[in-house]
């Protein structure tokens, strides 16, 4: 993945801007000096030779800039600048920061709590095997018919008493028909 390793190299260069600059500077200066020495050996005056070497090398400042710009990652650099700017602004007005952070915390907290509840009630299935096979069975009948009341909960359904539990015999019958 060439783009990946290129990004990685660019990322590592982010913190080494000064080093890259210094390296280029040293490299260019050595080039100039070696070229000048070569010309001195060929019989040129030394200051003349250095001047000529500087000319043939080209615009050193521009070269250094071009060499450094190769490593730039403009979008990431602007993003980091924005982050730094934001942090500075927040530090400048601590009360505003506090209010903003507190309201965010409250908002996130409340949302998490409500979602947790909904998740527990609506989204997560019951802790049994094959929960989709569970059925709610309502047994309707007269309130005078003796049924196991359980918790005593017996709502009125279509004008008749609805019971949420069965007698032992009924339970046996149901269990037998299911299994």
């Amino acid at each position: 993945m060439p783009w990946f390793s290129e990004s990685w190299r660019r990322l590592r260069a982010l913190g080494r801007r000064r080093q890259i600059d210094a390296d280029l500077e040293e490299e260019l200066r050595l080039h100039m000096e070696l070229r000048a020495e070569q010309q001195v050996k060929a019989g040129a005056a030394s200051d003349e030779a250095l001047y000529a070497a500087e000319r043939s090398l080209g615009n050193r400042i521009l070269l250094k800039e071009t060499g450094r710009d190769v490593w730039r990652w403009v979008s990431l650099e602007t993003f980091l600048q924005d982050v730094r700017y934001g942090a500075r602004m927040l530090r400048k007005s601590p009360v505003f920061t506090l209010v903003a952070v507190a309201s965010l915390a409250l908002g996130i907290g409340a949302n998490t709590a409500i979602f947790g509840l909904v998740d527990r009630i609506l989204l997560k299935s019951l802790p049994v095997r094959n929960p989709d096979e569970l059925r709610l069975v309502l047994w309707t009948g007269h309130s005078r018919i003796p049924m196991h009341g359980g918790s005593g909960y017996s709502p009125i359904l279509y004008g008749v008493q609805a019971h949420s539990s069965f007698s032992y015999a009924m339970c046996k019958l149901l269990a037998g028909s299911v299994s």
Partner: protein, 112 residues
């Protein structure tokens, strides 16, 4: 100011890449590259010598080369460049690209 005849754009990479494959021990520094480009082209098509260095940076970024600081025969500190496997492959790509463009240009010249 002297007008420089320029090395055709894009061929600077080829020069550098070829140099690396021939270099002793696979390592060369910037001045060696500049000097042999000058010799190889008999000083006619000159490139502004310094433009070699940004090109080297670009090649480092692309991963065609690696660089390491070392000491020259004259006991001077400088950066040595070495061709990578990616760089070797890139040389083939650059060469075939150059050939294609060259053929196209020759075709135009001959029909004219």
């Amino acid at each position: 100011m002297t007008e420089y005849d320029e090395i055709p754009p894009g061929t600077l990479y080829i020069h550098i890449l070829i140099l690396k494959t021939r270099a002793h021990g696979g390592e060369v520094h910037g001045f060696e590259i500049a000097s042999s480009i000058q010799q190889a082209t008999e000083e006619v098509p000159q490139v502004e010598e310094g433009s070699l260095y940004p090109a080297l940076q670009r090649m480092l970024l692309k991963g065609w080369l690696t660089a390491e600081w070392g000491v020259t025969a004259g006991n001077r500190r400088t950066r040595y460049y070495r061709l990578t496997k990616v760089g070797r492959k890139q040389l083939e790509i650059e060469l075939s690209q150059f050939e294609r463009v060259n053929r196209a240009i020759m075709g135009v010249i001959q029909t004219a």
